[in-house]
Each structure stands twice: as structure tokens, then as C-alpha cells.
């Protein structure tokens, strides 16, 4: 039997690097990475059959509910090779597939020497297959091409083996064929991992250097930091030091994940595991930093990571203003788990105190909000997502704008907006549809390639703001779900953009300002003013609602004054009842937000900030 009992397997801190293989599983979303990881957990017997469940490593509720991986997970697997009969330790990292979490993938890649590039052989190569492959190649990883889901009746392994071989530059026979569902081919895959992926190299006698590739806040244990040891050795007796800050910490525990945390005597060269220092302050353990020992510190840091650049910004506000400190605390904690999240305090006349948060994309934004709500028990409002603009005034001053309400008022010379290179993969029958959509969204065609007879890769540059708006939903619906999209930022370009303000009785409502392309300003104005007319209750005076660019009104609506707000009859027996009603109404009035003299119920803000797509999603969720 190729599995090795854990206690008899090579132990952490006592494993020869030559026996170690570090790899990650990368693929387009839903191609079966986590399911393949399940089979590996089963075949290597680190998870007993009776404890097995589907997508074992998707541990968060939100991952399980949505059926997607959000966090990478590293697991130590002992394995006896069927080829040479030797014992090995495999450190496997399951990664997310969604484009918003590319950063998570790139961090995992830095802890590995090899990658399994998985392709669902009923779908073929898709946008994130390419994106993740290129990332792995940039990291000089050994790539093992694997066709998954060969059990499916619709599988076309021959066809996609040819596509994949062409892409990587290998022979179609080199592509392994597995089924994560049935386990077919997984033993062979494990053996090939041992055979093809190089062992880690490092200097066991040099000062310790370990790369922090993830860290998580655990309510009971504090900050848990995941590391890959490059040189030297970490042991529980060491005092460790963070290279960037020089701060020293006592080590409380060192261990490996298998797939639950198991304390160990230490970690040696090439090993992947965790350290716990009892630190509660999440900022002390920064992803990408190098851990060394205090007594024998290294002088050279590991390469680390480029800080991920948030691409989409939105304001998050607690529904109940009193929850503001709770929100701050929750964001702090989440940031430790989620290095890509950035935030700073923001205050809005309409929504009170909150935070301007930066995200990698819309899914990331949705997930952060949902995690904050469920993990900290908060109710939040989020404002419409915006990208980062650079605004140049006539006198040459530059300003970075992540919040439309901060858009400068004076004369503007030019506005730069972020541009992405978008790659769309789709069956060739949709070429026309896709080009039409990209054109509508201010795209510029870069090129098009046939991956095979009937599959094309179309490349465009498009303003990120267009993608953030509803590009992906449109792409999916116009291609019946067949197209996939990947994008990466490539810089900025000047845009013909304007800020549209929404005014209630002449007063600015900051939460509703938006920066939009000139041609779409009118549509935005009309949409917002008519939505607000429906949502804001009548007041004792007429309330004009206007959309304006600067001082020019582009759309207007008005809410007629309320004419009757009185109960006609109030005699002896009515008095108590009416007073109680009044007390209730007074409470309701306290929850109103004032925009100038206009009372706006919080629900109206929420509804106005909710897109139709959000409403549909909420409905779908309620049904399921």
C-alpha cells in the first residue's frame, strides 16, 4: 500500500529535503481542484474514509455554501512512490480558481516547486487556466498537465489533451488523465509528482529563513502564521523575529497541517507548516514577510510578494451607527486572513461613519461583506463599487480618487482611469456577440487566437470600471455561460468621465455620487432619480430630486408634498392607543437620516444602493 501511517512517516524537522515535494493545484474555477485534493487526502490516508466529506478543505461556511474555494489550504501528505518504493512527503496546496483570488494563487505558488494544471475535460481550457498557467511559469514551476473529470460522458480527453499540449509545449500523451470523483489515475498522479517535481533546495545550516505565505486569526489561538521554510530550521524553543519590523516573538507552537494542525518538533528546509506566537495583533504577522530566529538572524530577506493592489473600492457602513467599533475590529481580523483587503475610515453625511474598503474584485467584495456580517454579526450597507481614478486639475495638481464624493470640484484637465487587459475564452460561435459587448464597453481589440478549431481567445483592453459594472454578468448571459473571462490591470488611460451628483432638495447625497462615462451619465441620473422618487416617503414639502454634473442638471424628479398625515378621530378611548403609536413613530423618526430637511429612512438608502442584480441574488438565495 503506497500510503504511509503518519506516525511512521518522515517527521517534520527530520525529513530530508530530497524526500519533499511541494506543489499546488491550479485551474479555472470549478475544474475540480478541491475534489482532486479530497482524493489525495483519502488515498494517502491522512483523512479516514468515515471522516471524508466533499471539498474537505473548503472549511469556511461561505465556501461550502457557494461551492467555491476562497482560501488556499496547505496539507502535508506522506506517500510511498510506486516507482522507486521510497517514502516522500508531499505538501499539497489547493488554491481558488476565481479571478478575484489570483493573489491567493500567486502566494501559494511561491511556496512550491511544482504545479498541477488541472483542466476539466468537458470544458477545456478557460480564461483562468491560462492566467494561472502563466503565473506558474513566471515562478519557474514544473507544470504537470492533468485532464480531470474523465468519468463524465461529455469528456473529450483527446481534444483537450491536444489543446493543453499545444499550450504548454508538450506531447498530448504527457497529459495525465484523472477523475477527482472516482479517484481514477490519482495514484499515478501522486507518483508523477514525486518523479517530475524537483525537491526543494536550501541550506540547513544557514540562519533560518521562512516565508509567510498566509496567516489567519483564530479566536482561541490568536494569529496562526503559515510558512514555508527555505533555509535553516524553526523549532518551538526558538525566539523568532520578523524581518521587516525586527520585532521579536516567543514561539508557542510549531506544526504541520495534516489536514488538522499537528504540533511538531520543528520545521526544516523545504517544509511547509505553521507557527503560533500568541500574538494577538494581526498586523504583526504580515504575509510576504520573512521569519528568522532572534539568536541567529538572517541578513537577507526572501523575495516576498508584491502587495496586491485593490482594484475596486466601496464604502461599508454599519446599519446601526453604534456598531462602528465592532466593524473596525472585524475588518482588522479579516485583514489578517485576507491580505488583499485594505480599508480606511470614511464618513458619509448620508450613512454616518464607516470604512472605505479596497477589494480585488466584485466577488471579493461580496465575500468580505458577507464574512463581516456573519463572523462579526454585523448588518452592513455597502455603497456602489468604484475604481481608482487619478484626476489632474488645470493647475497640474494630481489627486487620487477612490470615492466619487471626493472628486474635486474645480476645473479638471484630465481624468485617468484603470485599464485592464481582458482575455475571453469562448466557443468561436460567440465571437460576434463578445466583440459587440466589448465594443459597447469601450474596449479596444488587442488580438484573437484560435486555441483549437472551435475555441477562441479574444483579448481586449477595457476600462476596469466597465468590468466592475456588470460586464461579467452580461458576458455570461450573452454566451449562454460558455465564455470565461480573466483580466489583469495594465495601467491607466484618459477617460471622458464625469461625476454625477444626486441632490435632494438641493443637498448633495454623497453616497449616491458616481463617476461615469459621459455617454452614460444621463442614464445613471435618470435611474437614480426615479429610484429615489419611489423610495423616499413624501415630506411636508415638495422634494426635488436632481442628478447633476457640476451645476448642470441632467435629470430631475420630484416627490410631491404629503398632504394628509393625521388621524381624524381622537376621543377618550383612542388616546392611549394613539400615544403608543406616536411613541413608535418617534422611534422610527430617530432612525431617519436627515439630508438637509429631508427625512430619508435608512431602508431607502439601502434599497437605492442595491442593484437589480443584488435583489435577484438575494431572491435566489432566499429560495434555495
Amino acid at each position: 500500500m503506497p500510503a504511509i501511517e503518519l506516525s511512521k512517516a518522515p517527521q517534520p524537522a527530520a525529513t530530508n529535503p530530497a524526500q519533499i515535494r511541494n506543489f499546488c493545484i491550479i485551474a479555472h474555477i470549478d475544474h475540480g481542484k478541491s475534489t482532486l485534493a479530497d482524493r489525495m487526502l483519502g488515498i494517502t490516508e491522512v483523512v479516514e474514509q468515515r471522516n471524508m466529506r466533499a471539498q474537505y478543505l473548503d472549511r469556511m461556511d461561505i465556501e461550502r455554501e457557494r461551492g467555491i474555494t476562497i482560501k488556499s489550504q496547505a496539507v502535508r501528505l506522506p506517500w510511498r512512490s510506486g516507482i522507486d518504493g521510497q517514502e516522500y512527503i508531499l505538501n499539497m496546496i489547493d488554491t481558488p480558481g476565481h479571478v478575484d483570488f489570483t493573489y491567493e494563487v500567486s502566494r501559494s505558488l511561491a511556496a512550491c516547486e511544482g504545479a498541477i494544471l488541472l483542466v476539466d475535460c468537458a470544458q477545456g481550457i478557460e480564461a483562468q487556466t491560462l492566467a494561472n498557467l502563466y503565473l506558474a511559469m513566471e515562478n519557474n514551476l514544473t507544470i504537470i498537465p492533468v485532464l480531470n473529470k474523465i468519468d463524465l460522458p461529455a469528456a473529450q480527453p483527446e481534444k483537450f489533451a491536444a489543446e493543453l499540449a499545444k499550450l504548454i509545449g508538450c506531447e498530448p500523451e504527457d497529459c495525465l488523465r484523472v477523475s477527482g470523483k472516482t479517484g481514477d489515475g490519482v495514484v499515478e498522479l501522486l507518483d508523477q509528482i514525486v518523479a517530475q517535481i524537483p525537491a526543494p533546495v536550501g541550506d540547513a545550516n544557514a540562519p533560518a529563513r521562512a516565508l509567510i505565505f498566509d496567516s489567519v486569526y483564530d479566536t482561541y489561538r490568536g494569529v496562526v502564521t503559515y510558512v514555508r521554510v527555505v533555509d535553516g530550521h524553526l523549532s518551538p524553543r526558538d525566539q523568532i523575529q520578523m524581518f521587516s519590523t525586527g520585532v521579536r516573538h516567543e514561539m508557542l507552537e510549531v506544526g504541520v497541517i495534516s489536514p488538522e494542525p499537528v504540533a511538531s518538533k520543528g520545521l526544516g528546509v523545504g517544509e511547509v507548516g505553521y507557527v503560533i506566537t500568541g500574538v494577538k495583533d494581526v498586523r504583526q504577522s504580515r504575509v510576504g514577510d520573512t521569519i528568522t530566529t532572534y539568536n541567529n538572524p538572517t541578513k537577507v530577506a526572501l523575495a516576498g510578494y508584491k502587495d496586491p493592489k485593490p482594484m475596486v473600492f466601496s464604502g461599508l457602513f454599519p446599519l446601526d451607527g453604534a456598531d462602528y467599533p465592532l466593524l473596525r475590529e472585524a475588518l482588522d481580523k479579516l485583514q489578517l486572513n485576507d491580505a488583499a483587503l485594505v480599508f480606511e475610515p470614511e464618513s458619509s453625511a448620508a450613512l454616518g461613519f464607516g470604512f472605505r474598503c479596497g477589494f480585488l474584485g466584485l466577488l471579493h467584495m461580496e465575500i468580505v461583506r458577507e464574512r463581516l456580517e456573519r463572523e462579526a454579526g454585523l448588518s452592513l450597507i455597502s455603497t456602489a463599487p468604484s475604481v481608482v481614478y487619478h484626476v489632474f486639475s488645470d493647475d497640474g495638481k494630481e489627486m487620487t480618487v477612490t470615492n466619487p464624493s471626493e472628486f474635486p470640484d474645480g476645473k479638471i484637465a484630465s481624468i485617468m482611469e484603470p485599464i485592464v487587459r481582458a482575455t475571453v475564452l469562448a466557443p468561436s460561435e460567440f465571437i460576434g456577440t463578445i466583440m459587440e459587448l466589448c465594443q459597447e464597453r469601450r474596449g479596444t481589440l488587442l488580438g484573437m487566437d484560435y486555441l483549437s478549431e472551435d475555441r477562441v481567445e479574444i483579448r481586449y483592453t477595457i476600462p476596469l470600471a466597465e468590468i466592475v459594472f456588470d460586464f461579467f454578468d452580461q458576458l455570461k448571459s450573452r454566451t449562454k455561460g460558455y465564455a470565461s473571462l480573466d483580466y489583469e490591470p495594465i495601467g491607466e488611460a484618459e477617460g471622458d468621465l464625469v461625476k454625477v451628483d444626486i441632490l435632494l432638495q438641493g443637498e448633495h447625497v454623497d453616497a449616491f455620487s458616481a463617476i461615469v462615462h459621459k455617454d452614460k451619465a444621463y442614464a445613471y441620473g435618470v435611474m437614480m432619480t426615479s429610484k429615489l422618487r419611489e423610495l423616499i416617503p413624501r415630506q411636508q414639502f415638495e422634494v426635488p430630486i436632481q442628478a447633476a454634473i457640476g451645476s448642470r442638471i441632467i435629470a430631475r424628479e420630484s416627490i410631491r408634498a404629503i398632504r394628509k398625515d393625521v388621524l381624524a378621530k381622537c376621543y377618550g378611548g383612542d388616546i392611549s392607543r394613539k400615544r403608543k403609536l406616536l411613541e413608535k413613530q418617534k422611534e422610527g423618526k430617530k432612525r431617519m437620516k436627515m439630508v438637509g430637511r429631508v427625512e430619508v429612512p435608512q431602508e431607502a438608502f439601502i434599497a437605492a444602493l442595491t442593484t437589480d442584480a443584488d435583489i435577484d441574488k438575494a431572491k435566489a438565495k432566499a429560495k434555495s
Binding site: 411636508q540 398632504r563 393625521v566 388621524l567 378621530k569 381622537c570 377618550g572 406616536l582
Partner: protein, 369 residues
Amino acid sequence: MKRCGYCDFNTYTPAELQITSELSEISRSYIDLLIDEAKLARNQAPQAGAIPTIFFGGGTPTLMEPSDLARILQELKASFGFAPDIEITIEANPDTLSLEKLSQLRATGINRISVGMQSTSPHVLKVLDRTHNPANVGSAVKWAREAGFEHVSVDLIYGTPGESLADWENTLREAIALDIDHISAYALIVEAGTKLAAQVKRGEVEVPDDDLMADKYLLADQLFSAAGFEWYELSNWAKPEGECRHNIAYWQGRNWWGLGPGAHSHIDGKRWWNVKHPATYRDRLLAGEFPAADSEILTATQIESERVMLEIRLRSGIARSSLDAAAIDRLQSYVAGAQLDAQSWADGLVVLTQTGRLIADRIVREILL
């Protein structure tokens, strides 16, 4: 016998109570109970002086025998005494009245009658579930005067689904033409739990339209004042000396004692209400117990809320000096918006204008915020 579809008063039909005896018998035994409660009241409020006003209402008291009404009045007069100018009102369904009945009622000492006219449009009365014949209102009023009633009033309801502005104008013109000195005109309230509420919920009847009701209110106020009826409360208009002093007492936060099942009382910051069911009410009194179901002692804040909520309904208004500075400040915009009368404001009073009366509840919330 049938209850009106919009009515949420504490009413029971004999069928609901499974009583088969004659109405006259019910009337007699019911008055016996009221007399019992009045005796308890006398013991509870030993300091109470002569009674200034009495009101028989909250149902159709004219279904009772005049002789029974006389018995309770005699009891009250004997134990409390009557003020020399006492006002005694009875509410009446026009169909229950005749010259003879009215003369008998007048003979008991009752000197004011309020006739439930509601509307002259048959289709409106139908939606309201009113069975009376609108033609009977005129004769009822005429007889009431013949019988010697000093004050005659009619109640109107506007805003009933299906009622046009012209329908309402008709009702108003007919009411004004009557020989009366008081009119109450109420915007229809769809009270929870009524038959009307159920019909609205099922979509059989439309929700009354607030804007149309506002127009109807303005029309009523205009026609009434042209005919010599001045507003003295949001929904009440009277010719000189025609105001209902009993109801003014409610709005001024005075003390009153309500007799009967479900009746509410207010004495010196304490409110209580009697058990609702007539059988429970009877059992309590027969056992010599006080028939209150529950009570509340008002806090200072609640007393103030009620004061503002009630006094603002009156033409006499609220003294500005009784409000805090912030509230006064918030009211400025209503003076500017002509919802509070500028002259009265300058004279130190918060008095609603015509359009202000239509948003009185909003202004109350503004004051009490």
C-alpha cells in the same frame, strides 16, 4: 341587527352574545349594571364635584329605552349632582328615531343629540355597511328640534372608497342645510380588525386616497365656515356656542369616568379601561368587583406627549412657552410653510392652519422628537 363595517367600537349584537330576550329587557338589565358601576365610581372619587357633561355613545344608545336612560341619569344626579348648565349628549342612528322617541329622550334631561348621518350617497353608505335611509336624517333633525333639543349635530365620514369629490360636496351641502349647530367630519380610518380592513386587505375595496381626502377636508372647511360653522377641533365645526364641551374635555386632558364594558376613564394621570365583554363586565359587577381590565399610570413624558398630541387639535392651540427651545426652532419651518398660523405664532400660540391641520400628526412628532 348589524354593526357598521368600519366600526371598531366595543360593540356586540344580541346574536353574538346569544341573547334571545327582548331588546327592552337587555336595556333594563344593562342599565342596572351601569348604575352599579356608577356607585363604585362615587366611592372611588369622593372628591368629584357636580357633573358638567355626560355623553351616551360608542354604539347606538338610542336602542335603549328612554326610561332606562332616565334611571341612570337620576342615579348620577343623586350621587354626584349636576352642574346647572350640564350638557348631556346622545348619539343616534337616524333610523332609530321618531318624534315620540325624541321627546321621551329630551324629557330625561338629554339636551344634545348627535346624528350619524355619515353620507348622503347610497353607494358610500353601502361600502360603509350603513343600513340607515339617508332621507331619515332630515326628519330626525327636524323632530329633534321640535322635541326641544338645544344642540343638534351630525357626524360625517369622507374618503370612503368610491366616494367622489362631488358625492362629498353633496353630503356637505345637505348637512349645512340642516337646522343644526355642530358638524363632525371624519376622514375614514381603516381600523385594524374591522370588516372594512379585511375587505381592503383582500383587495375588494380600495385603500382610501390621502390626497383626495385632503381635498375633501379643504372643501368641507371652506363650505362649513361659509355657512357659519367654525372649526374648533381638527374634525369638528360649530356655530357660536355649539361646541361639544364634553369632547373638548378629552382634548384638554380633563378627568372623566367611562361607564360600561370596554369604557375608558382618565382621572389625574391614571388611565384604565373596563373589561370588554358584557358578560365579564356583568360578572365582575355582580361580584361587587371593579370592572377594570387594566390601567396605566402616565409618566411625566407620557402626560406631555398626550398634552401636545391633544391640544394641537384644538383651535385654542398650544402655548409656545410650554415647549422647549429646540422644538420651537423646529417649528419655524412650519410657520414659514404656512402650516402654523403666523399671527397666533407671533401671539405666542401654536395653532394649525387649514393645511397644517391635515398634517397635525407630523407636527406633533416634530415637537416631541
